[in-house]
């Protein structure tokens, strides 16, 4: 830019038409590069693919897909910034979608909307960075940040394969131990052969094949505020459901029946994400 001005002054001063030619060439080049830069970021459609489980405060990988809807011109050196995090694309061929991943950390739980992606590029000449905005229109439910809840939980981490056998008694599981009859046990459980050798009736104690359902009520969990309680609750939902134990929620007056499937777990987490926000 400065050199163009300098040469422009020189051209006017000397009346040298060759200098005028150089200045015209540089001005023409600037005009064309400006136009090319404008075309470069034009007609780019953006979309975002978000994973099912997004937790507040935890870095999550999003996939940004950009499609160059121009007919002929490729786009170069595009940066698509979504929620303040950039993803970069080197070359976007016309008509062919390209994807890039970016790590995004959402600060707060709740339903959030990614309205737009800021598309920017220094192409063709690194003097200016041009910006435009592409609509993304993606909805994301950010679950509360899970917080480890020590105590009152059996076994190890289910994710790590450390889940121990359930401690609860049941009717159809494996034989856990033999105890004295205390009344109330089913007759089916009386170990007749052993009872004959002892003075008291002996009963078989079997493990439970399924854990008993748990109904979590976040308001009753410890924690300084609602968000902390929800964080504990989120942890519990994950830990329990992954351990195969049916989990339900009691949110105020509303009760969500226990279940152990993944969709159910995500439903619970979704409820926790928006709890207290409506």
């Amino acid at each position: 830019m400065a050199s163009t001005l300098l040469l422009g002054v020189a051209a006017v001063n000397t009346g040298n038409n060759l200098l005028f030619l150089i200045v015209s060439a540089m001005l023409g080049f600037m005009a064309v590069s400006g136009t090319l830069g404008w075309l470069n970021i034009r007609r780019l459609a953006a979309s975002v693919r978000i994973p099912d489980e997004v937790y507040a405060g935890t870095p999550t990988l999003l996939t940004v897909e950009l499609t160059n809807a121009k007919r002929l011109l490729p786009s170069f050196l595009i940066t698509a910034t979504v929620a303040g995090f950039p993803a970069s694309f080197l070359v976007l061929d016309p008509g062919t979608p390209a994807t890039a991943s970016l790590m995004v950390t959402f600060a707060k739980r709740g339903r959030q909307r990614l309205e737009r992606a800021v598309i920017s590029s220094p192409f063709p000449v690194n003097f200016f960075v041009r910006f435009t905005v592409a609509a993304v229109a993606a909805n994301v439910t950010v679950f509360p940040s899970p917080r480890r809840f020590a105590g009152a939980l059996p076994g190890g981490k289910p994710d790590a394969g450390q889940a121990g056998p359930s401690q609860a008694r049941g009717y159809e599981g494996e034989l856990a131990k033999i105890t004295d009859y205390r009344g109330g046990e089913s007759l089916k459980l009386i170990h007749w052969r052993l009872s004959a050798k002892h003075e008291v009736f002996k009963v078989k104690e079997l493990t439970a094949t399924a854990d008993e359902p748990v109904l979590l009520e976040p308001e009753l969990l410890p924690g300084r505020d609602l968000d902390e309680r929800l964080s504990y609750c989120c942890f519990l939902v994950n830990r329990l459901a992954k351990g195969g134990r049916p989990v339900g929620l009691k949110l105020g007056e509303r009760v969500i029946e226990p279940g152990a499937s993944r969709p159910h777990r995500l439903k619970l987490l979704g409820e926790l994400a928006v709890y207290g926000k409506d």
Partner: protein, 648 residues
């Protein structure tokens, strides 16, 4: 994969070479050789992936600057500046390869090319400029990738695409270049003049004719002028420059002539010429004999049809001349015969005797001229440019001994003999002939065509042209061969360059504006009964436009938005009957989340009978844009087949 830094290095070296080459012939010895050395060093460093440390380069720059600055004075200002530019460019190539340094190398190369225009104005400049523009465009784009990630490597395919788009830029910039070149403001006079001290060589056009000064005349082919005019017969190509009317010793010179009233020629074929003289220090404005009037610059006209420019001719300029192909200049009243009968210091007895014999031919000048021609022809004089007589009395030697000479000998001998015979005579200096360029439509006149002929005063007719060289043997020009033709093409190219670029000026810009304005003003409807028809026709054509605007202003933003959505849907999904379908029906047919959201927002407002809010409207516009831009292939939306009606 190709490393982007390697591409950038190769481009930078090429740019530096293109900047250096046009300037190289004008550089000092040390600068001229420093650059190739630096280039070789840079190549070596690039190959090893290293660069010289900044402290070394900075101190080297300072030392070299001082060295060149010592040779600085106002006359060598441009040369020293050019030297420094080239040296700094060389140093820059050796340094660290960062984005800033690359840019500096580019700028220095451009300045080098710009500086070359202060030395040389040839059309070759355009070639360098275009090459540099192309390389710069590509380099700046590659530099952008380099700035993104210096270690970036692109596949050959990707690189090809990047290069293709970068080459597109200078190609598209060319028309803009031409447009801006015409439009950029120009001043008629430089603001500071110190940069414009170019020193063109003298053309050798002499205001003194002294035959016998040397034994040979060099045939320099340098261009004197180009004259745009129609093709003329060879015999009428006499370009008048100067009239030599008296003597200084034995040499013919131009002396202040006594007043006389010469009339503008009004006989003979009129010829209009546009003349582009090469820069020279000679003030005479050369034109086809006999010039009547000049235009295009300020001049002084002498009574003997000699024109001199008022400003220096050391720049490229042009002027127009109206000439008549007449064989003389009429004079009103008489002339100072005594002045035109003066003789040189030395006239040999043989010459004097010949003059006396001629004087006895009678009072008729025509008869004397016939006798003179017969005398010349009888002597069997030959026209030559080498082996010319020299010595104490070259004219005598020419006529009576060696009998060979060039036009200066013929004209001097002829005019002297005429004066001895009592006929007032003078020499006319200029050029004879010219090579016509069919491509350019102009005559090319070169220095080797310099010529001198004679004008003799005839009572009642005025000054009559006499061509004594034609009385010789061997006075004709050889037609050129293929080389000459090629040369004419090259010359035509240079001529157009000078005409279109070098001499382009403010007046031309103003003339362009004026003529455009005049043309616009002079647009008149053809007269007749259909003038009103044309007017009404134009009005009728405007009506639909007005109606469309009116309808547009009548429709609410919501309606416009809905129309836009329907248009987009029709185009993207090739849906028929979009206009008749309801919004919800459309959403069902086209399974697209964007459309669903659109319908939800739009319907939500419409069915509650309220207008769309500003935010909603923006969002809807975004959605329509998304719909338009989203790809159909692999995209989100797809058509749901309509339910079968009637069942069965």
């Amino acid at each position: 994969m190709v490393r982007i830094s390697s591409v950038l290095n190769a481009l930078t070296l090429s740019i530096a070479v293109v900047g250096y080459l046009p300037l190289a012939p004008y550089l000092d010895f040390s600068a001229r050789w420093f650059f190739p050395a630096a280039l070789a060093g840079a190549l070596l460093l690039y190959a090893r992936g290293r660069s010289l440390p900044p402290w070394l380069l900075t101190s080297g720059s300072i030392v070299l600057f001082l060295y060149f600055a010592l040779g600085f004075n106002m006359d060598r200002l441009i040369v020293v500046t050019a030297d420094l530019l080239v040296v700094f460019l060389g140093i820059r190539l050796l340094g660290e390869r960062s984005g800033r340094n690359y840019l500096q190398a580019f700028a220095l190369s451009l300045f080098c090319l710009a500086a070359s225009s202060l030395f040389e104005l040839s059309a070759l400049f355009l070639v360098y400029l275009l090459a540099l523009l192309l390389l710069l465009a590509v380099s700046l784009v590659v530099l952008t990738f380099h700035a993104h990630d210096p270690k970036l490597a692109l596949s050959r395919f990707e690189l090809k695409k990047v290069l293709a788009v970068s080459v597109l830029m200078p190609a598209a910039a060319l028309p803009v270049l031409l447009f801006l070149f015409v439009l950029l403001p120009r001043t008629q006079y430089p603001l500071w003049d110190f940069l414009n001290r170019a020193a063109p060589g003298t053309t050798g056009f002499s205001d003194k004719v002294n035959p016998g000064g040397s034994a040979s005349v060099s045939e320099v082919k340098s261009v004197v002028l180009r004259a745009v005019c129609a093709k003329l017969p060879e015999s009428s190509l006499y370009w008048r420059g100067i009239v030599l009317n008296g003597f200084s010793g034995n040499a013919w010179v131009r002396l202040p002539a006594p007043p006389e009233v010469s009339l503008k020629p009004n006989r003979g074929e009129p010829v209009h010429q546009e003349i582009y003289p090469e820069p020279s220090r000679n003030p005479y404005l050369i034109a086809l004999n006999v010039p009547r009037a000049l235009g295009g610059l300020r001049y002084i006209e002498a009574q003997d049809a000699v024109f001199t420019g008022q400003r220096q001719m050391d720049k490229r300029l042009k002027y127009q001349v109206d000439s008549r192909l007449a064989d003389g200049i009429a004079v009103k009243g008489g002339i100072d015969r005594r002045f035109y009968l003066a003789l040189p210091e030395r006239v040999s007895p043989r010459l004097r005797a010949e003059g006396r014999a001629l004087a006895q031919a009678g009072p008729e000048v025509a008869e004397k001229l016939r006798r003179l021609e017969a005398f010349f022809r009888a002597r069997r004089l030959s026209y030559a440019t080498v082996g010319l007589p020299t010595g104490a009395d070259p004219i005598d030697a020419f006529l009576f001994d060696s009998r060979r000479g060039n036009c200066e000998f013929f004209a001097s001998a002829c005019a002297t003999l005429l004066r001895l015979a009592g006929v007032p005579a003078r020499l006319v200096g200029g050029y004879r002939g010219g090579v016509y360029s069919g491509v350019g439509g102009y005559y090319l006149v070169t220095e080797d065509m310099a010529h001198v002929w004679v004008e003799a005063f005839v009572d009642g007719r005025g000054w009559v042209t006499v061509e004594p060289s034609a009385w010789s043997a061997g006075f004709s020009r050889q037609p050129g061969g293929a080389v000459r033709l090629l040369r004419m093409y090259a010359d035509a190219l240079g001529f157009f360059w000078n005409k279109a670029v070098i001499t382009y000026d403010l007046e031309k810009q103003l003339a362009l504006v004026r003529s455009a304005g005049n043309r616009a003003r002079n647009v008149r409807l053809p007269a007749g009964w259909w003038q009103p028809v044309l007017r009404w026709g134009a009005a009728l054509l405007l009506l639909p436009l007005g109606w469309a605007l009116y309808r547009r202003s009548r429709r609410s933003p919501e309606q416009r938005l809905l129309a836009r959505l329907r248009r987009v849907l029709r185009r993207r999904y090739r849906l028929e009957g979009v206009e008749q379908m309801g919004l919800y029906e459309l959403a069902k047919r086209v399974d697209d989340p964007n459309l669903r959201e659109f319908v939800a927002i739009y319907g939500g407002a419409l069915y509650r009978d309220r207008k769309l809010e500003r935010g909603e409207l923006t969002r809807l516009k975004e959605l329509v844009a998304c719909l338009r831009n989203s790809p159909t292939a692999g995209g989100k939306g797809h058509l749901v087949p309509p339910p079968l009606e009637g069942g069965g």
